[in-house]
């Protein structure tokens, strides 16, 4: 069983053991519109919670994707380079961005669970 957590910047992280898979939420892809380009970090890169980790571009604009936790990138979803629209079609599945090996697992406690995130989304409208 994995634990899924969410950030206020609309990233999700699904954690299994010491590794988390990271993507952007359905709400985020909806707001962005058609994704046409994704720039991913190299495997081995150190990322820091809250700092820019990837870039996602829609027809309209470029947006940063922030690391929800600190750690090391252990995998990047190369499928997004060839088929960026996967982010729109399967934001919570095949549209994942990276896998991060967590260096500070306690950071997860500061993120929202699904119920809290849904409540947060309602507050945005």
């Amino acid at each position: 069983m994995s634990t899924v957590k969410f950030t206020e910047e609309h990233e999700w992280i699904a954690v299994e053991g010491d590794t988390g898979t990271v993507g952007i939420t359905a709400y985020a892809q909806e707001q962005l519109g058609d994704v046409v380009y994704v720039e991913l970090p190299a495997v081995g890169k150190q990322v820091e919670k809250g700092k820019e980790m990837a870039v996602v571009e829609s027809v309209k604009a470029a947006s940063e994707v922030y690391a929800p936790v600190s750690g090391t990138v252990v995998a990047a979803n190369d499928k997004l380079t060839a088929e960026p629209a996967t982010v729109n079609a399967e934001p919570l599945g095949g549209g994942w961005f990276v896998k991060i090996k967590l260096s500070k697992p306690a950071e997860l406690d500061g993120l929202m669970d699904e119920a809290a995130y849904n409540k947060y989304l309602k507050g945005l409208h």
Partner: protein, 373 residues
């Protein structure tokens, strides 16, 4: 430009946009649809494949009539470099209002309607344009802002077929022709023109009839509503300038590669504001030029990105850029030094502190498909 605190203005089609599920954004002081539920990418592709309907009622429509037998065309030529007197009735031309330095105050369409001229100007400039016209032409012309009228654009390879079901005479028009005809009993003024590179029409109609006629056109199976997002990607692929991005008061028509729009007679005789600067640039060449830019990778290059030569020296700036759905890759326009403006010249563009290789590309990125007859 409208002050940020003013309430947004609405076009006669605002309620229909809401009903159609549009995402509305502030644009030039209006609450405008940036996209509908179909999304920008599909809206773009639909327009290239069939017919897209755009609400462009925010744009300014101005009727210019000469006073006391004097010609409005001759009077207007004092403000624009195009050959307006050479327009035959029913013919339209693209031009610019210029300032003393040869910079562009706005770009516009001018049509000869027999006893008057019809102008279509940008929404963000329309108040300033009207003031400019009144300042210079109040003695010679009647200047009427037709602010109660709506303007819709029907664009795409199926536009003529669709509009022809309501007004068969529209099919006989050629690119840049203007005519009056009735659609469903309402007299409209239409030109065969647009801002997408496709065949199509811009149709001016009374504001109170706009929703009914738009609903009627949207019932045709080929027609979908299209927002400002796709309007921007379509015009960028077509290599058409956006006022405020690619042209403004600091860029001349020569720098902006709009030399083709300057009339032959005007090049020798001048007689428009900024003629000295513009005629000098025509003779001696402009220091910089607006060009198409094709980045080599997949990363979109956007407005204000720095353009460098291969040695890393700054030679200009991107003015419009994004992803071209039909070009299937990033496309951009920007100004570069004259010596770097030839198609095929290697450049680099700085995106997120990285130098991306790019080439000067011929415009348009996607061939125009105007109906030239």
């Amino acid at each position: 430009m409208s002050a940020p605190n003013q309430p947004l203005r609405r076009t006669p089609l605002h309620a229909l946009h809401v009903e159609l599920g549009a995402k509305l954004v502030p644009f030039a002081g209006y609450d405008m649809p940036v996209q509908y539920p179909m999304g920008i990418l599909s809206e773009h592709q639909h327009t290239r494949a069939a017919a897209g309907l755009f609400d462009v009622s925010h744009m300014g429509q101005v009727r210019l009539t000469g006073k006391g037998g004097a010609g409005a065309a001759k009077a207007l030529e004092a403000l624009v470099p195009a050959d307006i007197q050479g327009l035959t009735p029913g013919q339209m031309r693209y031009t610019q209002f210029t300032n003393e330095k040869g910079g562009i105050l706005d770009d516009l369409m001018v049509a000869n309607i027999g006893d008057h001229l019809m102008l279509v100007v940008n929404a963000s400039c329309k108040d300033a344009d009207a003031a400019h016209l009144r300042r210079h032409l109040a003695n010679s012309c009647e200047i009427e802002e037709l602010s109660s009228r709506a303007l819709i654009a029907l664009q795409g390879p199926k536009a003529a077929e669709v509009l022809g079901r309501f007004a068969p005479q529209c099919r006989a028009m050629h690119f840049m022709n203007a005519a009056f005809f009735a659609i469903d009993g309402v007299t409209c003024y239409a030109t065969r023109s647009g801002y997408t590179g496709e065949d199509g029409y811009e149709i001016s109609m009374p504001g109170d009839a706009a929703e009914r006629l738009t609903r009627r056109l949207l019932k045709e199976p080929e027609v979908k509503p299209i927002g400002l997002g796709a309007r921007d990607s379509l015009r960028l692929e077509a290599g058409l300038c956006l006022y405020g991005n690619d042209i403004d008061q600091t860029t001349t028509p020569v720098e902006a590669a709009l030399t083709w729009s300057i009339g032959k007679r005007r090049r020798s005789d001048g007689g428009f504001i900024g003629a000295d600067a513009i005629l000098r640039q025509l003779k001696e060449g402009a220091p910089r030029r607006l060009v198409g830019i094709r980045p080599e990778g997949r990363a979109p290059v956007r407005a204000h990105a720095e353009i460098q030569d291969k040695s890393g020296r700054r030679i200009g700036e991107v003015t419009s850029g994004g992803f071209g759905p039909t070009a299937n890759g990033p496309v951009a326009m920007g100004y570069v030094e004259r010596s770097r403006a030839a198609a095929g010249t290697d450049l680099q563009v700085i995106v997120r502190d990285k130098a991306l290789p790019a080439k000067v590309a011929p415009l348009p990125f996607v061939p125009h498909r105007y109906h030239r007859g």
